[in-house]
């Protein structure tokens, strides 16, 4: 057990890779494609079970991270293989390992073409995503961040819809461009640290330590350097989130991706952006974050409104859900940039909730698509009478997405609004105005989802083809059950998650608000653990 505890994160990253090797070996030696999904499911479930160990007791290391591992990697570059989790990343890792088996099951009958490659890419993707959330070395983070692109690229490109090539390439290039600029910023940080302290490092914890200790500052004449670096990081993450003007890849990618791809994309990949902003932008460049917060708040509000408005006029269900993602991620960004405890907690919570809910929505869209091979809203109507279970599940999920109280969407959005309202980041009453502007987004969300539900599920069955549709089978219900459970559970009992993430979020919040100048992150994190 000690061994597992010590290397738990590495094991989590490696299990899917080993699984990939295993399924390739299996295919090479036995040439039986029907076993592949079982094997993959097995691997993802094992990963999920292993990841549950993260919740168990473990000693935080001196700098506040659990399950930390730090070994030199490429010394010539000065990078270390440094990984660890804290309250922020822990839940995102769990979300990842949780969504993966569900995504695999969702493909049970959908993937007929090249299953081996499909499952191999799925597993590689999982490994990369876990890597992103646990890396504490900037270069390693970048590495996983980029590595997650390739499997997704293939998933969209090979198994996607009609416009898949366009969507895949667009997805890749958008993300790559942003992240490459981040790479420049990362290397620049290395040298800034080298100049300031004589030690070049990519290590997040060390960098943060130097920053909080004041050894490395972006004040005064080098302030613009800090701003530039901030922007480089922020661009990479904004594209990933996506924040409003950089969002155009998202509808294409979501729409064209296979169901499992959309689920992963919406549930996990988007969170990389918000996670990265919170983890790196806020802590490494607090001044710049505060200075430029207004930009992101405005963009977030535009994103919320625009996402909702455009979602309203989408004729395609999947596209509609995709635009709803833009709106929801806008909320997350808004919450983060409120720089209040509630706002940031809410942002994290919304990230998790959105992962579950939107994942579920995409799954549901996938179910109907498998039956009818169309996603046009106009093709449907009156499904509630034909597919009662499906309709029920859909409506519940949609309500969760809208943010109905006692479902998971509500908690996060409420906290965000609260946080923004009480924020002081914008001058005067602009904070409240921003909150209200965001609030209209909630109303729009209700409008477009309800309108869609009304058109699809209620009324008479207008289309002959829909009359003979099967309702959900056992596998599908089994697939939705944990998601529904989580929606409700998270909606009524958010405390465990919020409690465990609080110290980390508070630490970040204090850094970004400049309250820890002179102190060290170490102290803060230990305080956090004590509270827990």
């Amino acid at each position: 057990m000690d061994f597992i505890n010590q290397y738990l994160l590495t094991i989590l990253i490696l299990v899917p890779v080993i699984g990939t090797a295993a399924i390739i070996a299996h295919q090479v030696f036995w040439k039986d494609e029907s076993h592949l999904k079982w094997l993959t499911l097995g691997v993802t479930v094992i990963t999920f079970l292993l990841s549950l160990l993260l919740l168990g007791s473990a000693q935080a290391s001196a700098n506040g991270f659990y399950f930390e591992q730090n070994t030199p990697w490429i010394e010539a570059i000065g990078t270390n293989y440094h990984i660890g989790v804290d309250g922020l990343s822990l839940w995102l890792v769990l979300l990842t390992t949780f969504i993966m088996p569900i995504a695999v099951i969702s493909t049970w009958h959908a993937i007929e073409k090249r299953p081996l490659a499909f499952y191999a890419f799925m597993l590689l993707l999982e490994s990369a995503m876990i890597g992103v959330f646990v890396s504490l070395d900037l270069l390693v983070f970048y590495l996983f961040f980029e590595a997650s692109l390739v499997p997704m690229f293939f998933l969209i490109g090979i198994w996607g819809g009609k416009q898949r090539i366009y969507a895949a390439v667009k997805f890749f290039i958008y993300t790559a461009l942003g992240s490459l600029l981040m790479l420049v910023a990362i290397i620049a940080l290395y040298y800034l640290h080298l100049q300031a302290t004589g030690i070049g490092t990519f290590d997040y914890v060390t960098l943060l330590g130097s920053l909080t200790a004041g050894k490395l500052t972006f004040a005064g004449s080098s302030a613009y350097v800090g701003t530039l670096l901030f922007l480089a990081f922020a661009l990479a993450f904004s594209i990933k989130v996506p924040v409003f003007p950089f969002h155009t890849w998202l509808p294409d990618a979501h729409t064209e991706a296979p169901t499992a791809g959309s689920v992963i994309l919406a549930a996990i990949l988007l969170k990389m952006g918000t996670y990265g902003m919170m983890r790196f932008n806020f802590t490494l460049f607090p001044e710049a974050s505060r200075e430029l917060a207004w930009v992101f708040i405005i963009l977030a509000i535009i994103g919320i409104t625009y996402g909702a408005l455009v979602a309203m006029v989408q004729p395609d269900v999947k596209r509609l859900v995709a635009y709803s993602s833009v709106a929801h991620m806008g909320f997350v960004v808004l919450g983060m940039f409120s720089f209040t405890e509630q706002g940031m907690q809410g942002a994290l919570y919304t990230m998790l909730a959105h992962g579950v809910t939107t994942g579920a929505l995409f799954l549901l869209v996938g179910f109907i698509y498998e039956r009818r091979h169309t996603r046009e809203i106009s093709e449907y109507g009156g499904l509630s009478s034909v597919m009662p279970i499906y309709s029920t599940v859909f409506v519940i999920t949609a309500m969760a997405s809208v943010g109905l109280p006692f479902l998971n969407g509500f908690v996060g959005e409420f906290l965000i609004m609260l946080g923004m309202w009480s924020s002081t980041i914008l001058p005067g009453s602009w904070n409240q105005i921003a909150t209200m502007a965001a609030g209209t987004g909630v109303i729009f969300a209700a409008v477009y989802l309800l309108w869609m539900i009304q058109r699809v599920f209620f009324g008479k069955v207008t289309n002959e083809k829909n009359k003979s549709l099967r309702d959900l089978d056992l596998r599908e219900i089994g697939l939705m059950a944990p998601l529904l459970f989580l929606m409700v559970f998270m909606g009524v009992y958010p405390k465990p998650i919020l409690d465990s993430s609080k110290p980390s979020v508070v630490a970040i919040q204090q850094i970004v608000n400049g309250e820890t100048r002179g102190g060290t992150i170490t102290e803060l994190n230990t305080e956090g653990t004590d509270q827990q």
């Binding site: 990697w73 490429i74 570059i77 090249r114 490659a117 490459l180 420049v184 040298y191 100049q195």
Partner: protein
């Protein structure tokens, strides 16, 4: 009788210093003789060549690891520093891989293998001299040896008009460039009165005609720029690369380019350094750094943008090689602006490592291009790769891997290479350098488009015509295994190599 036999009997010779080059040259001659006695035995000549390369590599490593090395010999014409060692290792690797890749081609085209191997070995000798020469004479000779061999290699498919044309264009433009290079050398010699690079660097301060130094440096930039294919001296590259036989193209992109960089680096970074308190050197240094920065920016941008619109894979790879020359130039400029000797040496090692990663990746890609192209290099368009992804998964996934490495995705060799070459420029920290790196990065993103295109074509499109998977000969399989391992090894565990490249603690300047 007025002889000077006493001097002749004891000339200024240090054999161990040129042992790698010598062994390879002797191998070349053996191959040539064997081929003239028993023509057409490609396996034998290939084996002899490989043995020669391995022996040469052994000699190199013994030189590299010798405890108290001889630092220079032949009156300072040959040096043993990290620049020479690391680049020579790259050349040997390139030559060995090229021989393996060529087996298919040699068989298909009924080329005289012995002669081909001879030329390849001599070309490698030329490249090695370009890296080891610390004198303009040696560099020029090495360059010409290399060039002449490559002209012929480019035109070896003599019945094919594309190959003819490639050879002719390469010959004309290559010699044209040599002319400029030579003029530069003459002027630099005229300015300082020496052709030895170490002495040259020392004499910059009291050069008799400092003005000539500037003009000479400009001419040298043109000449070397041609050889490493930087914009605006790149015009020959696409045509030549497209027309030359695929294995030769791979070789040209990997070997001669690296060799060009080796000499280019030596002449500029070590030959025209920034000397404290010497105004002439400051002006010269500033000028060439600025010129190369501009050239790097142009090279990357033009290479990448032009690559996007290509419909031929070899042509695309040609433009990609131009772009990569641009990235390597970033490291070059970084070496130029390095503030410390160790920083400079690290930057040089970075460029060497970059060329190593590029060579491995590129040769891997060309191995597959050769295989797919079939006889006469017929199938080299993007269309010919349509939908072969799952029909020949090994080929397609390897090629995708190479494309991703060229793109510089993490975990591949290309990533570490890029990080290494961008670093020194960022270290300098000036606005110009940061701009340069940012442009390089944006270019990387642009390059994603055409690298991905090949993957898109292979995996995402359907094949309309029939596709017969080409038979994979053992030698080519070996190349693929080696290059794939190389791509991952350098990408994940390249630390040893990088340290080896930068850790030969010999500093020509400070001797």
């Amino acid at each position: 009788m007025n002889f000077f036999l006493a001097e002749l009997a004891d000339p200024n010779v240090s054999i161990p210093l040129v042992l790698p080059e010598m062994l390879l040259a002797v191998t070349g001659i053996i191959v040539m003789l064997y081929d003239s006695l028993r023509p057409g035995r490609r396996r034998v000549t290939g084996t002899i060549s490989m043995i020669g390369l391995i022996l040469s590599a052994l000699a190199l490593f013994s030189l590299w690891s010798s405890p108290n090395p001889e630092l220079s010999g032949f009156g300072g014409m040959i040096v043993a520093d990290s620049l020479r060692m690391s680049f020579t290792a790259v050349f040997l690797l390139v030559a060995a891989l090229t021989i393996l890749i060529s087996t298919v081609w040699v068989e298909n085209e009924k080329v005289h293998a012995g002669e081909y191997h001879t030329l390849l070995l001599f070309a490698t000798v030329g490249m090695m001299f370009m890296a080891s020469g610390n004198d303009l004479v040696i560099i020029f000779l090495g360059l010409e040896t290399l060039s002449i061999a490559t002209y012929v290699m480019a035109g070896m498919r003599r019945r094919d008009l594309r190959s003819n044309e490639s050879a002719m264009k390469y010959f004309i433009l290559g010699s044209y460039a040599s002319g400029f290079l030579l003029y530069g050398m003459a002027l630099v010699y005229g300015a300082t009165g020496t052709t030895n690079i170490t002495e040259m660097a020392q004499r910059i301060g009291d050069a008799q005609f400092p003005a000539l130094l500037l003009v000479g440096a400009a001419m040298l930039v043109i000449g070397f720029g041609f050889k490493v294919a930087t914009v605006p001296f790149h015009v020959w590259t696409p045509d030549v690369y497209e027309g030359a036989p695929s294995p030769v193209t791979g070789f040209m992109a990997a070997g001669p380019k690296a060799a060009g960089f080796a000499s280019f680096l030596r002449v500029f970074v070590l030959g025209f350094p920034l000397l404290a308190g010497v105004q002439a050197s400051a002006f010269l240094h500033d000028s060439w750094v600025t010129a190369l920065t501009v050239m790097a920016i142009l090279t990357m941008t033009v290479g990448n943008v032009a690559a996007i619109v290509q419909n031929n894979v070899k042509r695309m790879l040609a433009y990609s090689s131009i772009a990569h020359a641009g990235y390597a130039l970033v490291g070059f400029v970084g070496a130029g602006v390095a503030k410390t000797t160790s920083g400079r040496d690290d930057a040089i090692a970075a460029v060497a490592f970059y060329m190593l990663t590029y060579a491995v990746t590129n040769l891997g890609a060309f191995a597959i291009v050769t295989l797919v192209a079939r006889k006469n290099d017929r199938r080299t368009d993007f269309e010919d790769y349509n939908g072969i992804g799952f029909r020949s998964p090994v080929l397609a996934f390897s090629l995708s891997l190479f494309m991703l490495s060229l793109l510089g995705l993490p975990l591949t060799a290309g990533f570490i290479g890029k990080v290494l070459v961008f670093r020194p420029a960022l270290e300098a920290g000036s606005t110009l350098m940061v701009t340069l790196v940012v442009i390089a990065v944006i270019n990387t993103a642009i390059s994603a488009y055409y690298y991905l295109r090949l993957i898109v074509v292979m995996f995402f499109r359907e094949r309309s015509e029939e596709w017969v998977e080409p038979r994979m000969p053992t030698a080519l399989a070996a190349v693929l295994v080696l290059t794939i391992i190389g791509v991952f090894y350098f990408g994940i565990a390249g630390n040893n190599v990088i340290e080896m490249f930068s850790n030969y603690p010999v500093d020509v300047q400070m001797r």
